[in-house]
């Protein structure tokens, strides 16, 4: 079977309408650079495949609505349901497994051929034409991504500590204010440089996430190799063993799962509020007793009874 598209084939097709001009291209800039996405289209001659909905899969190149996958015998009709029809016809797609292994499925060997690299494009029944196909740049970007030279991230360091301190503790207290920082760098053009993502999120999880916060990227100087992301977080008032996790999974980039386990303890007996408004009467009672006792002692020492009254008492 081949991918057939009677509406989108190049002029130099051999009559089977299989040398098609791919219509759909991903706009994921982790896999393809902007030049390739917006540049001349890609020529393809080969077989189709279809992909499911697993988020590990990314579609990179797909056909138009009028394409389908079938045998190319001329005097026959399509009478069985083709494997895939329309924009579901995938020409190039990629899988990044959970440990960041990358596999790219390309249904055409000729896509990588010198002939296709140098071929101009002229769509039949259309004025659309390009002097050179986008195959060469597309192949460069695709192979870079597949061989882990593009869109690769790593965590260079991670730190958490209480506000105004520097020590990374293993036990925090409920309602503590902490500062969490993580540094992520990206491999671009054969060297590590600071990553530019803006949606890295921090999670505090104990079976379910209690807190999820987007970290703010800090500005960096050009020679720094990793970008620091920081967040100020108030720990929840639930105690237990928590995991501080940065789980960054985006299509096209390698997956980052950085976690550190931390215990959160409840208040100690002397960390509760010290003076309670409901206890004011008791405070005044005790103070009143003390003052009364001291006053009475002074009076007892230095009191001189009125002589009239004393005489009265004695008589």
């Amino acid at each position: 079977t081949s991918v057939i598209d009677h509406f989108n084939y190049d002029k130099s097709d051999d009559g089977k309408h299989t040398l098609i001009i791919a219509k759909g291209i991903t706009n994921n800039e982790a896999i393809l650079t902007k030049n390739v996405i917006e540049g001349p289209p890609v020529l393809f001659r080969g077989i189709a495949h279809k992909i499911g909905t697993v988020p590990l899969l990314t579609k990179i190149l797909w056909a138009g609505e009028t394409a389908y996958s079938y045998e190319t015998k001329a005097d026959q009709q399509v009478d069985q349901e083709p494997l895939v029809v329309g924009s579901k016809v995938m020409l190039v797609s990629a899988l990044q497994a959970r440990k960041n292994a990358r596999v790219t499925f390309v249904g055409s060997i000729e896509l990588f051929s010198d002939r296709f690299f140098d071929s101009p494009i002229q769509r039949t029944n259309s004025a659309e034409s390009f002097t050179k196909s986008g195959n060469e740049d597309f192949a460069k970007d695709l192979t870079k991504w597949t061989f882990q030279e593009k869109g690769v991230l790593k965590v260079t360091s991670r730190n958490h500590h209480k506000e105004n301190e520097t020590e990374e503790l293993e036990v925090y207290r409920i309602k503590d204010n902490i500062v969490y920082t993580i540094e992520i760098s990206e491999y671009v053009n054969d060297h590590w440089q600071a990553f530019n993502g803006t949606d890295v999120q921090f999670e505090a999880i104990m079976l379910d996430p209690y807190i999820r916060k987007t970290l703010t990227p800090l500005p960096i100087s050009p020679e720094q190799q990793a970008r620091k992301y920081k967040a100020h977080i108030q720990l929840p008032d639930v105690y237990g063993v928590f995991t501080f996790k940065v789980n960054y999974k985006r299509s096209g980039y390698s997956y980052i799962e950085d976690s550190s386990v931390v215990a959160i303890r409840p208040f100690r007996h002397n960390e509760y509020p010290r003076y309670i408004s409901a206890a004011y009467p008791y405070y005044t009672g005790a103070a009143s007793m003390i003052v009364g006792f001291l006053l009475f002692s002074v009076i007892w020492f230095f009191n001189k009874e009125n002589s009239k009254r004393a005489k009265k008492k004695m008589s």
């Binding site: 057939i4 009709q77 399509v78 009478d79 579901k88 299509s251 004011y280 009467p281 006792f293 002074v298």
Partner: protein
């Protein structure tokens, strides 16, 4: 001369016709029958314009369409390689193809029975664009004909868990338990006042019986010991206040040990002084 010119033109035209051109549809008719075999709709669509009213389909309906495909030049029926009737959902762009089998004379009949429709269609209610795509290897001008709009009226099903997509998740802000609610502050203040009321009685009663500190004012010499003793008592009370605010039991007991020795010694001397005053008749 004229005939050879015509012959030459004819030859040119035949050369140009190596690749056949396009398709023409004719006799396009649609019909919708309900599940009780009541014919709801029967229309003939004037190709190349589309059917302007939306075609309504509910569950149990049966949609049928017939047409004839002919070659534009030869006007003979053809069997194109690709003859698909596609339903494209206007909401989510989902495309559902239906394969049309075209007979040798170009006549074709296609049926969409909602009773046995694909699940994709049954779970996407709303408007669908109905298009007929005709293509073949031998023709270089394929046909995409917009037949009309299908209004699919099926109950909205909760289509199960939606597929996971990697992306930022919604932020979770922990809601802290509100502080313990205490009784209102005016209640505390009023009880404070109630506790302080006995002082009025005490001061009143003392004033009535004529309490004074005259012996201090007249200052016999041994008043000094009494004063020191009273100062020690004051010190012990201040120690207790500090214990209440910031000291711990060990520091308190340390201070208390020292202060109580001083209190004991000065207390004895003070009391012997008071005894002396008594014997002197001052008390």
């Amino acid at each position: 001369k004229f005939t050879s010119w015509r012959a030459f033109l004819l030859a040119l035209l035949t050369l140009a016709l190596v690749q056949a051109e396009g398709f023409v549809l004719s006799d396009v008719k649609i019909a919708v029958t309900t599940s009780e075999s009541v014919r709801k709709l029967y229309e003939s669509i004037p190709y190349p314009s589309s059917f302007d009213k939306p075609i309504q389909l509910t569950s149990g309906d049966d949609f049928k369409m017939i047409f004839v495909v002919t070659d534009k030049q030869t006007q003979k029926g053809v069997q194109p390689h690709q003859a698909f009737l596609t339903l494209t959902s206007e909401e989510n762009g989902n495309q559902i193809p239906i394969i049309v089998r075209v007979r040798e004379n170009g006549k074709a009949k296609v049926e969409l029975d909602m009773k046995s429709a694909p699940n994709e269609l049954l779970s996407s209610p709303g408007n669908h664009s109905l298009d007929l795509i005709i293509g073949a290897f031998s023709h270089n001008d394929p046909l995409k004909y917009h037949v009309g709009t299908l209004e699919v009226d099926v109950p909205i099903q909760s289509s199960g868990p939606s597929p996971v997509v990697y992306g930022p998740k919604p932020e979770i802000h922990h809601i802290f338990r509100p502080d313990e609610k205490l009784p209102p502050i005016w209640l505390s203040y009023s009880f404070m006042a109630i506790i302080l009321i006995p002082w009025l009685f005490l001061i009143g009663a003392w004033a009535y019986i004529g309490v004074n500190v005259s012996l201090l004012a007249n200052a016999p010499e041994s008043a000094l010991m009494s004063l020191i003793f009273l100062g020690t008592l004051l010190g012990i009370e201040i120690l207790f206040y500090n214990y209440w605010t910031h000291l711990n039991i060990f520091q308190t007991l340390t201070w208390l040990a020292g202060l109580s020795i001083v209190a004991f010694i000065t207390g004895q001397k003070a009391l012997s002084g008071v005894q002396k005053w008594r014997s002197m008749g001052l008390r």
